[in-house]
């Protein structure tokens, strides 16, 4: 069978589900963050596939912006995790349940 849009979308949705399971099941803040990156990448793959099979380049421009924003988001998020770790000496979500610093 010739590889088409639905094949790429299947890979994308499976990767997204992996990321979602990682966020829900893992307890380490950094691994949860990596799972978030996995979900973002799955969305990127779906957008590039749509862009290719609809013969429009707009999807790829959107992916370009998503990658830029994701890079900024990773920088801010990791800075927050480092600041939190300095206060609490832990990167485990079960040790970080109160809202007060």
């Amino acid at each position: 069978m010739h590889v088409g849009l639905e094949h790429y979308l299947t890979v994308s949705i499976l990767l997204f589900c992996l990321g979602l399971l990682g966020v829900i099941l893992r307890r380490n803040l950094l691994v949860m963050y990596m799972s978030l990156e996995l979900m973002l990448n799955a969305a990127n793959l779906a957008l590039v596939a749509f862009s290719r099979f609809n013969n429009r380049l707009d999807g790829q421009v959107l992916v370009f912006f998503i990658i830029t924003v994701a890079a900024a988001e990773v920088a801010v998020g990791l800075a927050l995790i480092v600041a939190l770790y300095r206060k609490r000496q832990s990167a485990h979500v079960e040790d970080l349940t109160s809202m007060k610093l």
Partner: protein, 177 residues
């Protein structure tokens, strides 16, 4: 030689490459979240690099050459270095195995099942491919679009990067007031 040419013309090689890269992406993605051999976050980060590199292969198969390069440079080059750097900085110990919460497992399975069923339903409604795809995501075409139709978002994103940079500097100062 004749046989190879026929294979390339029929797209059989790209189909095989798709399955190879897709399997590699999903396998490495699985190893990011559940690795039976190690609970070390560094291992997860390394498998995330492999996931992203195999996804670059998928991007190339979709003729998104510029995005493939950006993916390697920004994700594998910058984001993952940042991840590994923070893991080293925090000096995380090997995470001890804690029991997976029953509630979390049930929630995860329900969420994944819902997403998958919605996906299967929408896949059945997918219209058949209209024309042979011929769009090329090379630097020239994408750059032209970025600086004409998408010039305003492009400038706004540059401001966003500046804001993020200032925010990170403020957050990582020693004293958090």
């Amino acid at each position: 030689m004749e046989a190879i040419n026929n294979l390339v013309a029929g797209g059989a090689v790209t189909d095989v490459l798709f399955y190879v890269f897709a399997a590699l992406t999903l396998l490495c993605g699985l190893l990011v979240i559940v690795n039976p051999f190690s609970r070390n976050p560094v291992t997860s980060a390394m498998f995330l690099v492999l996931t992203i590199i195999s996804m670059t292969g998928l991007f190339v198969l979709l003729h998104a050459f510029f995005l493939a390069a950006v993916q390697i440079i920004v994700y594998a080059g910058a984001v993952l270095v940042l991840f590994v750097f923070v893991i080293m900085l925090l000096d995380l110990k090997e995470e001890q195995r804690r029991k997976i919460k029953f509630f979390g497992l049930v929630t995860g399975i329900i969420a994944v099942g819902g997403i998958l069923s919605a996906f299967v339903k929408s896949l059945a409604a997918l219209p058949p491919a209209a024309a042979e795809p011929r769009v090329e995501g090379d630097t020239n075409a994408l750059g032209h679009l970025l600086f004409t139709q998408y010039a305003l978002p492009f400038e706004i994103v540059s401001v966003l990067l500046l804001v993020a940079m200032i925010g990170v500097i403020l957050l990582s100062k020693k004293k958090l007031e």
